[in-house]
Amino acid sequence: MDFGLSQDQEMLCDAISRTLADTCPLDHVRECAEGSVPFSDNVRSALGEIGIWGMMVPEQHDGLGMTMLDAAAVAEQLGYAVAPVPFIGAHVLAPLALAQGGSEELKAHWLPRIAKGEAQIAVAIAETVEIRDRAGVDFDGAKLDGTALFALDFLEADAFLVADTAGRMHFVAGDAAGLEKVALKTIDRTRSVGELRFSGVAGEALADDGGATVRRLRDAGRVLLAADSLGAGQAMIEKAVDYAGQREQFGRVIGSFQAVKHMCAEMAARHEPCRSLVWYAAHAFDATPDEASLVACHAKSHTGEVHRFVARTSTEVHGGMGFTDLLGLHFWFKRIGFDRQVLGSPEAVRAEAAALQGWTQVA
C-alpha cells in the first residue's frame, strides 16, 4: 500500500523541477510567450536530456513506456513552471493514439522520433467533447472533410492526429493536400492550439475500435490538464503566501491580517485534496480502466473549479501588483484558465460524468 508518487517518480519530479528552475525562469517564459511560437528550444532540449519526450512511447519504439501517473507528475511540474513546451498533445496523446491504433509503419516511423523530441504530432479531439461552431470532421472511407478545432501542440507540428465524427482517429501529414492550418490564439501564450480545415484530405485511419482510442485520449488529456492545473495552482498559492509574507501595509506584513491568511488557507484547503484526486485519476487510467473515465471527469472538473478560485484569490492577495504584468502572475492565471476550458469546461464534463453513471436519460 503506497498511495502517491514512488521514489522514482519523486526523483523524476525533482529532476524536472531543477531543470525548469534553471532553464525556464519567468523572463524566459515571457520571452517565449511574446514570440510567434511559444515553444522554448532551450527548455525542450534540457527536458529531453531527462528523457520525458519519450516517456509515453513504448520501449520497443525507443521510448520509456512509462505510466500515466508518471506523465501526470511531469504535467504538474510543467504547470508549476508554466513551461512553454509541447507535452499533452505531442508527447502523451499522440504516442498513446499511435501505439493503440497506428499501423506498424506509422509506429516505426513516428514513435522513435517523438521519443527523441525530433517530431511533434498535434492532436485534435475537441469535437468528441462538444461541437462548437458546427465543427467536426467527416470521413467517407477515403477522405476527410470538415473542421477540427483546438488541435493541441499545434504550431510547428509535423503531422496531426484527428478524430472524425464517428470517433475514429486519423493520421494526417502536416503537408497533406487540402489541409489548411489556422493558429488559434488563446489567453495562455505558453501553449499552442490551432484549427485544421480539411477539404478532401487523404489521411491514414487508425484502427476502428468503436471509439475506444478516442475515449482513452480524452481521459488522458483531462487527467493531464488537471495535473497541469494542479501545478499551476500550487505555484499560485506559494506565490501568494510569499508575497503576503513580504508586502507591508499599515505597518504589518499583510500575511498577518486574518483576512489574507484565511484567503490563503481556503486556497490550500480546496487545493490540497485535488492532488490526491489527480494522482488517483492518473493511476486509474493505467490500473482500473473501468473507472478511469469517471474519475478523469472528476479530476478535470473539480480542479477546474478549485483553480479558478485559486487563480483569482492569489491575484487578489497580490493586490494591484497581481493585476500588472510585472510579476508575471498572470501566466499562471491564464494557464489555469486554459486547463479549465480545454476538453470540456466543468459543466460539460460533469454532464458527461452523470451520463457515464446512467444518471441522465439523454446523455
Binding site: 498577518s256 485534496p273 490526491s276 484526486l277 472538473s301 459543466e347 460524468a353 452523470a354
Partner: protein
C-alpha cells in the same frame, strides 16, 4: 502508486470477514453515540477485544489486545466493519480520549484501575473541557478547584458534556492555580459523576434534540490524588494525546455513504413525472459534490500512506476537518433542495423522508463545522501551521492578554 495491501494483509482481511460472517449476528443494533452501552453491546465489545478488532494496540495488562500498531490492519478492520454495516466496537470519549491520556501520562495505579473497565464499556466517561465562556479560547476556562482539607473543591460549569447523563465518571479540566498564567493554571481531574454537588441538565440544540448537556459543579469535593499529571499541567495533559491517530481516521467512508444516500434519494424522489435526478441543475451539483467526495477519499488514502511511512499528515491532514464538515453539510443541503417543499418536513411529520435525517444532518453538521474548532480556527491553523504564515501581532491592550490562537483542535465544542 500501489493500492494493494499485500498478501499478508489480504489474509488478515479474510480473517476479519470470516469473523464478521460467523459472529456478525451477535452485534448489537446501532447504538446512539451518547447512550450507555447495552449488555449486548458490552458482550460484543469484549468479543472484539478478544479478537483484536478494537482496543487493538492497548497492552494486555490493561485489558487490550496487545498488538503492535499496524495502520493497515486498523484500516482493514474499519473498512470491513463499515462494509458489513456492523458497529466496530465502542467509540465513546472514554475510549478515544481518556484511555490514550492515561496510557501516556497516568500513574500505574490509574492505568490498572480505569482502562480495562472503560474498554469493556463498564465505565462510561464524559468530557468536561468547554465552558460557556471558553470555546475557541478553551484555555480561558474558569471552573475552579481550590484545595481544602485534602480535597479539590470544584465550582463552575461545563458545557457540551455529551454523555454526562449516562456517565459514571468525568475527566475534567479545572483551574487550580488562579494566579498562574492562563495555560499554566489548569489541572486534569477524574472523578465520579455521583459525587455530591454535580447537576446535569440536558442541552437542547437547534435540531430539537438534546444531544449534549450542561454540567454544573457546586462545591464538588474530589480527593487530591484524582489528578492525571501534575497540578497546573492539565492543559498539556489534555493536549498530549491529541496528535494521536485516535482510533484511526474515524469511519473512512462516512462521506461516501452520505453521498450514496443522496444518489438514492435523488433517484427515488419524484418531481412530476420524473425524479430529482432528472433535473440537470440538481444533478450538476451532485456530480460536483461527488468529485469532492472522491478527492477527500483519495486524500484520506494519501494520509494513510504518509502514516505508514511515518510522515505526519502535513497539509493533506490539516484540511480534513474543514473540508469534510463543509462537504457533509453541502450534501445535506442538496438533499433538502432535491426534496423541494418536502425538504422542510421534520419532527416525525407525515411524508417525512428518512425520519428527517437530512434536516437533522443539515443542522447537526453545522454544529460540527462550529464545534471542535470553528472553521475560522481551522483556517488559522492551516495558514499558520500549514502555510507558515505569520501569527497576528500581539495587541497593546489589555496588556496581560495572551495570544493563544493555536487552540488545540478537536476538543472544544464551544466556538467563536
Amino acid at each position: 502508486m500501489d493500492l494493494d495491501y499485500g498478501p499478508q494483509y489480504d489474509a488478515f482481511r479474510e480473517e476479519v470477514r470470516q469473523f464478521l460472517q460467523t459472529h456478525g449476528h451477535r452485534a448489537p443494533d446501532g447504538q446512539g453515540r451518547a447512550a450507555r452501552p447495552s449488555p449486548e453491546a458490552v458482550e460484543w465489545q469484549k468479543l472484539l477485544i478478544l479478537h483484536g478488532y478494537t482496543a487493538r494496540t492497548i497492552p494486555k495488562e490493561y485489558g487490550g489486545y496487545g498488538a503492535e500498531p499496524d495502520i493497515l490492519k486498523s484500516r482493514i478492520i474499519a473498512e470491513e466493519f463499515s462494509r458489513a454495516g456492523i458497529p466496530a466496537g465502542l467509540a465513546n470519549q472514554g475510549i478515544s480520549m481518556l484511555v490514550p491520556t492515561l496510557l501516556e501520562l497516568g500513574t500505574e495505579a490509574q492505568k490498572r484501575q480505569w482502562i480495562e473497565p472503560t474498554l469493556n464499556g463498564e465505565i462510561v466517561w464524559c468530557q468536561g473541557y468547554s465552558e460557556p465562556g471558553a470555546g475557541s479560547d478553551l484555555a480561558a476556562l474558569k471552573t475552579s478547584a481550590r484545595v481544602e482539607n485534602g480535597d479539590f473543591v470544584i465550582n463552575g460549569q461545563k458545557i457540551w458534556t455529551s454523555t454526562a447523563k449516562q456517565a459514571d465518571m468525568i475527566f475534567c479540566l479545572v483551574r487550580t492555580e488562579p494566579d498562574a498564567p492562563k495555560h499554566g493554571g489548569i489541572s486534569y481531574l477524574i472523578f465520579s459523576m455521583d459525587t455530591p454537588g454535580i447537576e446535569v441538565r440536558p442541552l437542547k440544540t437547534m435540531t430539537g434534540h438534546a444531544e449534549f448537556n450542561e454540567t454544573f459543579f457546586t462545591d464538588v469535593r474530589v480527593p487530591l490524588d484524582q489528578i492525571v499529571g501534575q497540578r497546573g499541567q492539565g492543559w498539556y495533559v489534555a493536549n498530549a494525546t491529541l496528535g494521536h491517530e485516535r482510533g484511526m481516521l474515524g469511519d473512512p467512508d462516512a462521506l461516501e455513504n452520505r453521498l450514496q444516500a443522496l444518489v438514492r434519494l435523488m433517484q427515488k424522489e419524484r418531481i412530476g413525472q420524473g425524479c430529482a435526478m432528472d433535473n440537470a441543475v440538481l444533478r450538476d451539483r451532485l456530480v460536483a459534490l461527488q468529485a469532492e467526495v472522491a478527492a477527500m477519499k483519495f486524500n484520506g488514502m494519501r494520509i494513510l500512506s504518509n502514516s505508514l511511512r511515518g510522515d505526519a499528515g502535513g497539509m493533506a491532514k490539516l484540511v480534513v476537518k474543514l473540508q469534510s464538515c463543509e462537504l457533509a453539510h453541502q450534501i445535506s443541503a442538496l438533499a433538502i433542495d432535491a426534496m423541494g417543499e418536502m425538504g422542510i418536513l421534520y419532527h416525525g411529520s407525515e411524508r417525512e423522508r428518512e425520519d428527517g435525517a437530512w434536516q437533522w444532518n443539515y443542522m447537526f453538521q453545522l454544529g460540527l463545522i462550529i464545534g471542535g474548532g470553528t472553521a475560522q480556527i481551522q483556517k488559522n491553523i492551516i495558514a499558520e501551521r500549514g502555510l507558515e504564515m505569520p501569527r497576528e501581532p500581539k495587541f497593546a491592550t489589555p496588556p496581560a492578554v495572551e495570544q493563544a490562537t493555536a487552540v488545540a483542535s478537536g476538543q472544544n465544542k464551544g466556538a467563536a
